[in-house]
C-alpha cells in the first residue's frame, strides 16, 4: 500500500479586517486618538477623493507618526496636485515637517520633475537645500543632471555643498571639472573645498 500523505488540518481562513468606509476614515483624520488618525491615514491609501483632506491635515498634524502615515498615503498618488501642495512645506519653520515632506517628495518621480524648475529657482535658499536632499534620493534618470546644474549655477554655497553631497555617490571623473569650478566660485567656503578635495582621489579612479 502506498504512503498516503496526511491531510493537513484545515486552518480557519484568515479574513482581512474590512476597511471602514472612506467617510469614516476621513472623519478619523481629526480624531484626538493618534492611533486612529494614523490608521485612518493609511486606510485611505488609493482613494483619490481623500487627497484634499489628507493635504489639509498635513498643515495641522503635529504627531510625527501620523504625519508620516499621511505622507506615505499621499506620496503613493504621485500627482502634480499632491507634489505641488507638499512642496509648499519645504519652506516650513517646522524641521520635522519639511524633512518629512522632502522624504515623501523623493519617492514621487512622476510628479516632482515638473516642480523642479520652480524649486531650483526658489528665492529661499533653504528650499533649494531641501531640493538637493530630494534629488539625492529621487529615483529618476535625470536626478544627476539636475544636481550638476545646481552645483554649476546656484549662487548660494550651502545649496552647492548640499548638491555636491547628493551628487557624490553617483559622481565620476567626468564631474571633476565642475566640482573644481565650484571650489573656485566659493573660495572662502572651507567645507565645500574640503568636500571636493576629499572626493577627488576616488573620482579620479573612476575614469
Amino acid at each position: 500500500m502506498g504512503l498516503v500523505r496526511k491531510q493537513a488540518p484545515q486552518q480557519p481562513e484568515e479574513v482581512a479586517p474590512e476597511r471602514p468606509p472612506a467617510e469614516t476614515l476621513l472623519r478619523r483624520l481629526d480624531d484626538p486618538d493618534t492611533d486612529l488618525r494614523r490608521e485612518a491615514a493609511l486606510g485611505l491609501e488609493g482613494i483619490a477623493e481623500a487627497v484634499p483632506a489628507l493635504l489639509a491635515r498635513v498643515h495641522v498634524e503635529d504627531d510625527p507618526r501620523v504625519l508620516e502615515s499621511i505622507l506615505i498615503t499621499l506620496a503613493a498618488h504621485d500627482t502634480d496636485e499632491v507634489a505641488g501642495s507638499l512642496a509648499v512645506h519645504l519652506a516650513s519653520d517646522e524641521a520635522a515637517l519639511r524633512t518629512a515632506v522632502a522624504a515623501a517628495l523623493a519617492t514621487m518621480p512622476r510628479s516632482v520633475p515638473d516642480l523642479l524648475p520652480a524649486l531650483l529657482a526658489a528665492p529661499d535658499h533653504d528650499v533649494r537645500v531641501m531640493t538637493a536632499m530630494i534629488l539625492a534620493d529621487l529615483p529618476h534618470p535625470d536626478a544627476h543632471v539636475w544636481l550638476l546644474r545646481m552645483v554649476q549655477d546656484d549662487p548660494h554655497p550651502n545649496v552647492v555643498t548640499g548638491a555636491i553631497d547628493a551628487l557624490l555617490p553617483s559622481a565620476t571623473a567626468d564631474d571633476i571639472p565642475l566640482l573644481e569650478h565650484a571650489v573656485q566660485r566659493f573660495p572662502d567656503d572651507p567645507f565645500l573645498r574640503f568636500t571636493v578635495q576629499a572626493a577627488l582621489p576616488r573620482l579620479a579612479g573612476t575614469a
Binding site: P64, D93, A95, A96, R98, T99, A102, A103, D124, H125, D126, V129, M130, M133, P157, N158, T161, G162, I164, D165, L168, D189, P190, F191, L192, F194, T195, A198, A199
Partner: protein
Amino acid sequence: MTSDTATGARVLVVDDAATVRLYHTTLLGGAGFAVNEAANGLEAVEAALGTDFDLFVVDVNMPKMNGYACVEALRSDTVGSDAPVVMISTEDRPGDADRAYQAGANLYLVKPVAGDRLVRVATMLTAGKDDVA
C-alpha cells in the same frame, strides 16, 4: 565610525550628509577629540544611551528624527544627557536659533562653519573633559 585619540573628549557628530560627518570628524579628530558619528537623530539617541558623550554636534534637517527632536530626546529623562550641544544648520531664518535653544542646544551655528571656529567652540564647551576618554 570612530576616530579617537588616547585622551580626547568624546564627541558625537550627527548629520545625514556623509560629507559633513567626514568634515566635522576630520576637524575634531585632528584636534584630539574622540569622534563618533550618527546619520540621524535616532542613531544619535541610541549612541547616547550607550556612551557618555562630552559634546554633541547636531544638524537640523535629518530624516527619521530631525535635530530639534534629537536634542529634546538627549535632554529627556530617558537619555538624560547634560553634555553641551552645538547645532549646525543651513537654516538661518528668524526663529531657528530660538527653536534650537528651546530644544536644549547650547549654541546654534549657521553653515558654513570655519574649521578653526568649530574646534575652538568644541574645546571651550568640553573644557575640563580632556582626560575622560
